[in-house]
């Protein structure tokens, strides 16, 4: 059997020796698409950072693509949260996608013909070939997310980590991004996508990992359910994850008072 994409053996991830998310004991098979769902502070982003080797493993073991998270990083593509981007910079979509090659070519290496072709292919895959010379800041929110996905795809990663990629997108762009996530899965890539939105889990993912906050403020988050979608995504598990009895689970969204009240 193929080596799993991610194997966590009672792993905990955190910073400065303090875990932010713990008790992670799970195996993500290759080609799975995992929806990572949980309230703010449950450690979704820390877990994604941990899989990249950018958060400490404070206990247990983590194996990503058969090696340590640091060693696997070159084979992992990411779509980070959009709020830190400086969209005022005068850089084109094509240059943004080219950034996905920087870690491979180093500071002085040439991008070369192969690199330029890979950039063009990645842009075509997300359907933005008619916009490649436009400034990134002039693209719509959905087009920007697709461009960042193209940046992740340009180095042909085996694992994709997407952190809240659907935030702030309108219906049409959500559909396009959902299709792209499904396509990645169909092509054999493993996808882990953190989200507040159950529709993404139901329409694009094969597995779900529900994370809950610690029982007291400041305590690390922990999983409440992991498994194939139809087994793990239950009303009880979602209520447990969100510590909240007002959760509504329907075909589209999970709504909790905690999330609505969150700033």
């Amino acid at each position: 059997m193929a080596e799993p994409a991610v194997a966590l053996n009672w792993a905990a991830f955190g910073y400065g020796g303090e875990p932010r998310v713990e008790h992670l004991n799970l195996v993500v098979p290759r080609g799975a698409a995992v929806a990572l769902i949980g309230p703010n502070g449950s450690g979704k982003s820390t877990l994604l950072k941990g899989l990249l080797g950018l958060a400490e493993i404070t206990s247990g073991q983590a194996v990503v693509l058969g090696s340590t998270p640091e060693q696997a990083r070159r084979r992992v593509g990411t779509l980070p949260q959009s709020d830190a981007r400086d969209i005022s910079l005068p850089i084109t979509l094509r240059r943004v996608v080219t950034m996905g090659l920087y870690r491979n070519v180093g500071p002085l290496g040439r991008i070369g013909k192969l690199g330029r072709e890979a950039v063009s292919r990645a842009i075509e895959r997300v359907g933005l070939e008619h916009h490649e010379h436009r400034l990134f800041g002039e693209l719509s929110g959905g087009q920007q997310q697709r461009a960042i996905l193209a940046r992740a795809l340009v180095s042909d990663p085996q694992l994709l980590l997407l952190d809240e990629p659907f935030n702030g997108l309108d219906r049409e762009n959500r559909e396009m991004l959902l299709d792209l996530v499904r396509t990645q899965r169909d092509e054999g890539r493993t996808v882990i996508v953190s989200t507040h939105d159950l529709e993404i889990a139901q329409r694009a993912c094969t597995h779900v990992l529900l994370l809950a906050n610690g029982h007291l403020p400041g305590q690390p988050g922990h999983p409440t359910a992991f498994g194939p979608l139809d087994e793990a995504l239950t009303l009880a598990a979602v209520q447990h994850a969100f510590h909240d009895s007002t959760v509504e689970l329907d075909q589209h969204t999970v709504t909790t008072t905690r999330e609505i009240d969150a700033p």
Binding site: L52, G53, L54, E70, R73, R74, T78, P80, Q81, A84, R85, D86, L89, P90, I91, T92, R95, V96, M99, G100, Y102, R103, P107, L108, L135, F136, I148, R151, L161
Partner: protein, 294 residues
Amino acid sequence: MTDVGLFAMFSLPFMMRALVAIAILSVAAGAVGVFINFRELEFVSDGLVHAVFPGLVIGMLVGGSAGLLPGAVIAAVLAAALFALLGRTGGSGRDAGIAVTLTGLFSLGVVIVSRSESYVSQLQELLFGRILTVTVAQLWQIAVVAAAALVIIWCARRALLFRAFDPAGFENAGLNAFRTDLALNVAVALLVVAGVQALGVLMVIAILVLPVAIARMLSRVLWTLMPIATLIMFGAGNLGLWASFEWSVRGSISASPGALIVLILISAYIVVVGVSFAAQSLSRDSTERAQVAA
């Protein structure tokens, strides 16, 4: 033009040397300034400028004019590393740390220089520069230090751009933020060292910040920013040297060329801001009229 004529003026050896110094600084400041602007590191640059001051003073006291460059380089590189470390704390902690460092080091420089007998003239020279008395040897120093800054920027350009655009994506890609920040800080520090003998501690920050700020309002094409900033700086430098020369010949007013260059850059900035503001309101008005007509 004038009694002397522009060509004749710049054929005077000391004016020619000043012009060459301006040309070198224009190219280097254009390249380094783009990334200062992208990273919004104007305050860090100001901190580096002030931190170089005690290095200049100590260098001057120890080795005279020949001691300026080594003193400044040592102080600049130490300050660049310190600021890169402070940058790890981020936000207000970083700014407070830089503010403490810059005022502390600047005061230290003033106290040390005041121990010297020719205190006032030395202080003036360090603060406002002496572009009209730049020697050939100093020109070489400026060229070498500016070239080092350019090489660093060239090597780090991809990482600098990525980090400026998307710090989270940069970190996820496993690129090294500390090394990237250190590279930019050292490049800025070297440019400060290159510029400080010609323009002085107080003026050199302007050539790092203003030409690129103007260029960004004139162009939205990445690769044009550096050449535009360089041309703006070179133009302002020429104009400043000419004005200073003319005034001293005609009116016996010895205005600091460095200060004049900064004033010209600021005037250009104000004009470009005004024009771009007017253009924006015009285009808004015409859009509104079109909407009303529709």
